[in-house]
Amino acid sequence: MTDQTQQPVISVRDLVVGFGSRIVLDHLSLDVRRGEILGFVGGSGSGKSVLLRAIVGLLPKRAGTIAIGGIDLDSAGEVSRRDVASRWGVLFQQGALFSSLTAIENVAFAMREHLDISERLMAEVAMAKLAMVGLHRGDAMKFPSELSGGMTKRVALARALALDPEILFLDEPTSGLDPISAGDFDALIRTLQQTLGLTVFMVTHDLESLYAVCDRIAVLADGSIVAIGPMSEMQRSDHPWVKAYFRGRRATLLEQRNATAPA
């Protein structure tokens, strides 16, 4: 963990988001520190993805402020919004790859839009990014419809990393992957976070990911954050949902396994 007194990279204050008469996020406040991996959990339909989409500006908010790296997105002009958008990368749950572009073109797309660099460097770096996320050379020229689920996630991660962002938003990065691939993916995110110095905001359901890579965990219930802190703190929490989640059957099994055979 880096300096605690630092200004948070993402700062959300009193955020309210709703659809019609239903309020999904009710005066939610959250800080994400520089260089940490924040795991974000909550029941299905509790609004995890809604928060992520609100932070990256895909959903309108009713009240509250969101600041990325100290810049308030509401008062920021078009230029600084574009600037902020090149400082984050988003991995969508289904990958959301551009279906008419090949894997490598997907990665190069944001470079072409945002950077002034030569075609050769673009191709080289895009290939390097794909290699970094563990994609084979032969798969770089494939179209998204020809990729497997795991490969799609990897390409989507490479695309999210294309501009060397400071912040990485991951929406359920390991869902739909087999345990081995999911484990690899966790390790990959950890490595990339360390080498590139990323701040990672990760929405996940995967207990194993939470144990393996997250510095802190935030729990969303009833429209606001009910608990936030490292794993050890989660296990001591008294909130019923947190208790059920982190001391449920699967969590206990996982913990026992981790205790007997430390990875």
Binding site: S99, S100, I104, E105, A108, M111, L115, D116, I117, S118, E119, R120, L121, M122, A123, E124, V125, A126, M127, A128, K129, A131, M132, R137, A140, M141, F143, P144, S145, E146, L161, L163, D164, T191, L192, Q194, T195, L196, G197
Partner: protein, 381 residues
């Protein structure tokens, strides 16, 4: 920032020394790129050092360029030693070094077109074989639909009535206003042009013959079929294509259901019912429009218009138009569903197939109309 401020070269007796300064990031990647490529692989094989202590920002792009330079010089047997890089940047350089690929591929694939005559002949050949495949696909679909229809006839309970009614509402009922408006306007235009030109010969009365025969035999059904192809055929293709993309059609198959029976038959039945009705209504609207223009522009009273119309047209003309309608509906439905099933994974192919569906069905509708004209002439209808 100038190149000199990013990279400096000092030749010493002990070898070449490079000094890097500033931000080695994507922002300055172009300058660094050029500077590194311009650096000659001088004759000396003395070791070189890259001092990066002056670098205050570093990312994958910078790391890649360092890696590119060092690997190029390694090939020329001149190892490059990188020193002074900050601790937190070293991991990145290591990571890039590990994934360095020997021969990167170009992002944009080379699409050089085949040259001159051979290319032209090849293109024609390809187009012909594609047209042949399209026709085969259409006949294949017709077979599947007929087979499915046979099963429904033997067991009527298996027919998806709800689905068929739903589609009938969409392609029939909801299309009525626009069809009425368009055919009404077409009727008006034909009558207006008729009066304008026939008046020169004093043949005003024959405008009614022209409007009546033209609308009932040809224009009514043709305009309606073209409208339906553009309106409903494209919707069918887009729906089925999106289902194909999202593997919904595969899901149906795994549940032991026949996609043709579940998705296609109700759609085609809906079109078969809707198109003749729409053609009938469209013809009425066109005749009405013609009558209105005859009255307001041609000075022919409605009574005379109706009386002339009764004399000019017979049931045969009406039958000729109506007989064609279900065949046109079948062609539109088959083309739309076949193209929809041909959609592959990408959004682009969905667009291509929807376009192909509309273009092909309008083309085939007009061809069919021509064949019917020949046929009816031959049997004297």
């Amino acid at each position: 920032m100038t190149t000199a401020a990013l990279l400096e070269v000092v030749e010493t007796s002990g070898g070449r020394q490079l000094f890097a300064y500033g931000a080695w990031t994507a922002l300055h990647a172009r300058q660094i790129d050029v500077a590194i490529d311009a650096m000659d692989g001088a004759a000396t094989s003395l070791p070189a050092t890259l001092d990066m202590s002056g670098v205050d920002a570093f990312d994958t792009y910078g790391a890649w360029l360092v890696e590119r330079l060092s690997s190029r010089w390694l090939d020329e047997h001149r190892p490059l030693q990188v020193v002074g890089l900050r601790n937190n940047f070293e991991g990145l350089l290591g990571a890039v070094h590990r994934v360095r690929s020997d021969s990167p591929v170009a992002v944009t694939s080379d699409k050089s077109l085949g040259s001159t005559l051979a290319g032209g002949v090849g293109a024609i050949e390809q187009a012909l074989s594609a047209a042949g495949r399209d026709l085969a696909g259409l006949i294949n679909m017709l077979g599947a639909v007929v087979q499915s229809l046979g099963q429904v006839v033997s067991r009527p309970r298996t027919f998806r009535l709800t689905s068929a009614v739903h589609h009938l509402d969409r392609v029939g009922w909801q299309a009525v206003p626009i069809i009425l408006l368009i055919t009404f306007l077409i009727g008006c235009i034909i009558a207006q042009q008729g009066f304008f030109h026939f008046r020169k010969f004093g043949a005003d009365e024959y405008v009614v013959d022209m409007v009546g025969i033209l609308v009932l035999r040809e224009i009514g059904v043709l305009i309606v079929a073209i409208m339906v192809a553009g309106r409903s055929g494209s919707a069918y293709t887009a729906e089925l294509g999106a289902m194909k993309m999202r593997e919904e059609i595969d899901a149906l198959g795994t549940m032991g259901l026949d996609p043709v029976a579940v998705l296609i038959l109700p759609r085609i039945v809906a079109l078969l019912v809707a198109l003749p009705v729409l053609a009938f209504l469209g013809s009425l609207a066109a005749l009405y429009g013609g009558g209105l223009v005859a009255w307001l522009y041609g000075g022919m009273s409605p009574e005379i218009y109706i009386a002339r119309l009764k004399e000019a047209i017979s049931l045969t003309h009406f039958k000729v138009g109506m007989i064609k309608a279900p065949f046109m509906a079948l062609v539109i439905g088959l083309v739309a569903c076949t193209e929809g099933f041909k959609v592959k994974g990408s959004a682009e192919s969905l667009g291509l197939k929807t376009t192909a569906s509309v273009v092909q069905s309008i083309f085939l509708v007009i061809i069919l109309d021509g064949l019917f004209a020949v046929f009816f002439a031959a049997i004297g209808m």
